[in-house]
């Protein structure tokens, strides 16, 4: 086995190791360690991607001396490589963009705790991407939930405590349902590793035994992970969570944490429950309907908001709806569109959160639209970032969002019954997106009289180099996803084929 095959294992264990070591480091050193870790992990994941692309097949990696049905296993293919490298990039940029706010908003004695949470969150996301074992997935879902809670409440304001409590309640509900479904699945198959479990589920289906428990298991698993990722009726924690936590936390949570669960769901569909029977079953129709509802309702709520961070959070509700709508189409093209949208949404949502923070910094720290008027002239870089992010969300050509909408529409027309609702909802949602993003962009570029501008500038927090750098990289990332999407879509496609 070539040495590069060890890299997924290295990146998970290294992240956990760094998180453990950070507990005795000072805040400053923990920060350096986290950033270094993200860079190293990026290199490791990129080499895994390069290796799997060149070899053209996925491989499993034994965690210990015992083979598949007995010991733990992780698995790496093209899809895992793409997602892992991409997640490292987004996390690095989101963290760098919010460094100044982390220093200001978090008590100095607790800074290292924040970076512990970042490291463990990264470890759990990587483990969710790479795992080939259902129970390992559950353990890392737990780490993910707890670390995300810590990242929300570390700001220590009344609002962030409320947000963390809400997030905790909803997320634990989701985890509980997921755990119940895992135990029933174990009762039905006697397997926890994904590969043998897939065989056992196929055998069950062929024999026709225990069909009711299997159906309930599929439903519980889907609903549990949908609650955790914030699908429409279960989205109530999102605006609070993303609106009142520190900038980096909002960016990381919205662009990565909720996506980790969706990836796990896709993985379980393809690797355990059997993509054929799921995609022709009824459960995808449920996801389709709620996805469509989320697309519309999230955008309507976003229009009614007067707080820029909460508005972006409601836009996330709509985007999660897009992803589930793609899954709900029940075709391979739909799943690929969803996977691409996971990437493009992560790139643009991170950009929006980071640049919105930059804008409110130059407006006396306020997030209200009336105070943000003219902020674009006070911080041009953040305004450019926000505009690019908004255009990507709306789906203008050149940017990442356009490609994902194009993929959704193309996937939609393949299914005669689902074509009309998909296209109508896509159109309506795009118009609604335009309404609130255009309004915001217009607000930040509305000139204000010099007096008010100087007053706002006097109160501003000093702008940092790190924020500019992060916004610039995010813009480039969006353009890359928009302009060179073909190889990425191809990679996603071949990765998905390796899944089944």
């Amino acid at each position: 086995m070539p040495f590069v095959c060890n890299f997924p294992f290295f990146s998970i264990v290294l992240s956990m190791f760094c998180g453990i070591v950070s507990s005795v480091l000072s805040g400053k050193n923990a920060k350096k360690l986290s950033i270094g870790l993200l860079c190293v992990n990026l290199c490791l994941s990129a080499s895994v991607l390069a290796y799997t692309l060149s070899s053209g097949e996925s491989y499993v990696y034994m965690m210990g001396h015992f083979p598949a049905p007995w010991g733990n296993e992780i698995r790496a293919g093209v899809l895992e490589g793409v997602l892992a490298s991409f997640f490292c990039v987004i996390m690095l940029l989101a963290l760098v963009g919010g460094l100044r706010h982390i220093a200001q908003e978090i008590e100095s004695g607790k800074q290292n705790l924040y970076f512990i949470m970042v490291d463990l969150l990264l470890a759990s996301l990587l483990a969710l991407i790479y795992t080939n074992d259902l129970f390992t997935a559950y353990v890392f879902v737990e780490i993910n939930t707890i670390a995300a809670c810590g990242m929300i409440m570390i700001r220590q304001t009344g609002r962030s405590y409320v947000a963390a409590a809400r997030y905790m309640v909803m997320s634990l509900l989701g985890s509980g349902l997921f755990l119940i479904s895992l135990s029933t699945l174990y009762g039905l198959t006697g397997q926890l590793l994904m590969t043998p479990a897939q065989g056992a589920v196929a055998a069950l289906r062929a024999s026709g035994q225990y069909m009711e428990p299997l159906t309930v298991t599929i439903a519980l698993m889907t609903v549990g992970l949908a609650i955790k990722s914030g699908l429409y009726p279960f989205h109530s924690w999102m605006p609070e969570t993303y609106g009142y936590s520190t900038a980096s936390s909002s960016a990381i949570l919205s662009s990565l944490v909720s996506k980790g669960y969706i990836i796990l769901l896709i993985k379980i569909y393809y690797r355990v429950l059997g993509s054929e029977s799921i995609m022709h079953g009824k459960i995808v129709n449920l996801l389709f309907v709620f996805g469509l509802a989320g697309m519309i309702m999230g955008s309507i709520s976003a229009i009614r908001e007067s707080d820029i961070r909460r508005m972006i959070a409601f836009s996330s509700v709509a985007q999660i709806g897009y992803i589930y709508m793609g899954l709900g189409l029940g075709t391979e093209a739909g799943v690929i569109a969803s996977l691409f949208h996971i990437l493009s949404h992560a790139a643009s949502k991170g950009l929006l959160f980071i640049s919105a923070t930059g804008l409110s910094d130059v407006s006396g720290g306020s997030k209200r639209f009336k105070d943000l008027r003219g902020a674009g002239y006070r911080n041009p870089m953040a305004a450019a970032g926000f505009t690019v992010g908004a255009m990507s969300m709306v789906g203008l050509p050149l940017f990442a969002g356009f490609i994902s909408k194009l993929l959704f529409a193309t996937a939609g027309v393949q299914d005669p019954t689902k074509m009309l609702p998909t296209l109508i909802c896509l159109a309506v949602s795009t118009v609604l997106n335009t309404v609130y993003f255009l309004r915001t962009v217009l607000t930040i570029f509305t000139p204000v009289d010099a007096d008010a501008a100087s007053k706002a500038k006097a109160r501003q927090i000093t702008r940092g180099f790190s924020l500019k750098l992060s916004v610039l990289c995010f813009i480039v990332l969006n353009l890359v996803l928009g302009l060179f999407s073909d190889p990425i879509v191809e990679a996603l496609q071949s990765g998905l084929h390796m899944f089944s």
């Binding site: 086995m1 095959c5 060890n6 294992f9 264990v13 956990m16 190791f17 998180g19 453990i20 070591v21 507990s23 005795v24 990696y61 034994m62 965690m63 210990g64 001396h65 015992f66 049905p69 007995w70 010991g71 733990n72 008590e107 004695g109 607790k110 705790l113 949470m117 463990l120 470890a123 483990a127 074992d133 129970f135 390992t136 353990v139 737990e142 780490i143 707890i146 670390a147 810590g150 409440m153 570390i154 220590q156 304001t157 009344g158 609002r159 409320v162 119940i180 029933t184 174990y186 009762g187 039905l188 198959t189 006697g190 397997q191 069950l204 225990y210 009711e212 428990p213 309930v216 298991t217």
Partner: protein, 316 residues
């Protein structure tokens, strides 16, 4: 006319009648009296922390609006319907699952068979549960220990008080803490060594008898909490401070991480691990499991103690 007694004033009866008329107080000057402290107004609350409450007060009269009352009734009704239907679905599912102990159930397959038949031989642990969680599926257990570590860090985020608030918290703790409780102290003095010894026994024998790191660590943590309650912080601070907590968890988790990484790495690359399994049943046997159990036990004990201390006064 009887003769008036000259010693009547000052006698018991005189005092009794005067007490009845409220002129005499038998306890005057005899008791140590203390004036009640003047009531101090609490410091004004920070309004920003309560802006949700303020917003609620400013809003509609929640309790008397007919619409809201109707909505609440509907909400409760729907919640009941939802709970009942989910319970029914889950009960039906459980009824349809393979029966418990059924030899033909799908869960009784080659996986559990190998754990039971070859567990002793392959892991060296007499207790096959320990062999499963610390050898066959050691990665999951490492994840579980990290969950504990992560939860402890979250509690630190939430409850740890910085140095400026520490003095106040300590004062507060001393008022409300019944210290020097003789019964508790004597009981703890007798029980504490046994509890710790039992915890250590369960951890060290994890691979031989029922028990292991998680259960033994919980017992040791409970012993530490009992000691703290009986003797107070001054005594525990001599051997358990925040530094101790950090370095013990760090050392234990790092040892776990390094040892298991070595074993994962050799296993995945099909190299021999070179760790002797020893004679099954001996205390120093079963390879790494013995040491990993100690690590897990230390992490669990420290985490339990840290939780208690954080909830009590926000610092060690």
């Amino acid at each position: 006319m009887s003769k008036q007694r000259s010693d009547y004033p000052g006698s018991r009866w005189d005092k009794f009648f005067r007490w009845l008329h409220g002129e005499y107080d038998p306890f005057a000057g005899m008791l140590e009296t203390k004036r009640p402290e003047e009531h101090q107004a609490p410091p004004p609350l920070d309004p920003s922390a309560f802006d949700l409450c303020a917003a609620e007060q400013k809003g509609d009269d929640v309790d008397h609006s007919r619409q809201i009352r109707r909505f609440r009734i509907l909400y409760k009704l729907l919640s009941c319907v939802l709970c009942v239907s989910i319970s029914i679905i889950l009960l039906v599912t459980v009824a349809n699952l393979p029966h418990f102990g059924d030899p033909a159930a799908p869960a009784n397959n080659e996986v559990s068979q190998r754990y039971i038949e070859k567990g002793l031989q392959e892991t060296g642990a007499v207790n096959i549960v320990t062999g499963m969680i610390l050898d066959y599926r050691a990665f999951d257990t490492f994840g579980e220990s990290t969950v504990l570590f992560c939860a402890a860090c979250c509690v630190l985020i939430l409850l740890r008080i910085d140095d400026s608030g520490r003095a106040k918290a300590e004062e507060h703790d001393q008022i409300y803490e019944p210290k020097n409780d003789l019964i508790l102290e004597q009981a703890a003095r007798i029980l504490f060594p046994f509890i710790m010894l039992f915890g250590v026994y369960i951890v060290l024998n994890g691979h031989l008898s029922p028990g292991g790191g998680f259960s033994g660590g919980a017992i040791m943590g409970a012993g530490l909490i009992l000691y703290l309650n009986a003797f107070g912080f001054q005594k525990t601070q001599r051997f358990f401070t925040e530094k101790t907590f950090r370095y013990i968890s760090l050392g234990a988790l790092m040892f776990y991480c390094c040892a298991k990484s070595y074993s994962f790495f050799t296993g995945a690359n099909h190299l021999p691990s070179g760790i002797p399994l020893g004679t099954p049943g001996a205390i120093l046997s079963s390879g790494l499991i013995f040491y990993l159990n100690i690590c897990v036990g230390l992490v669990v004990a420290c985490t339990m103690y840290a939780f208690f201390v954080m909830f009590r006064k926000g610092g060690f």
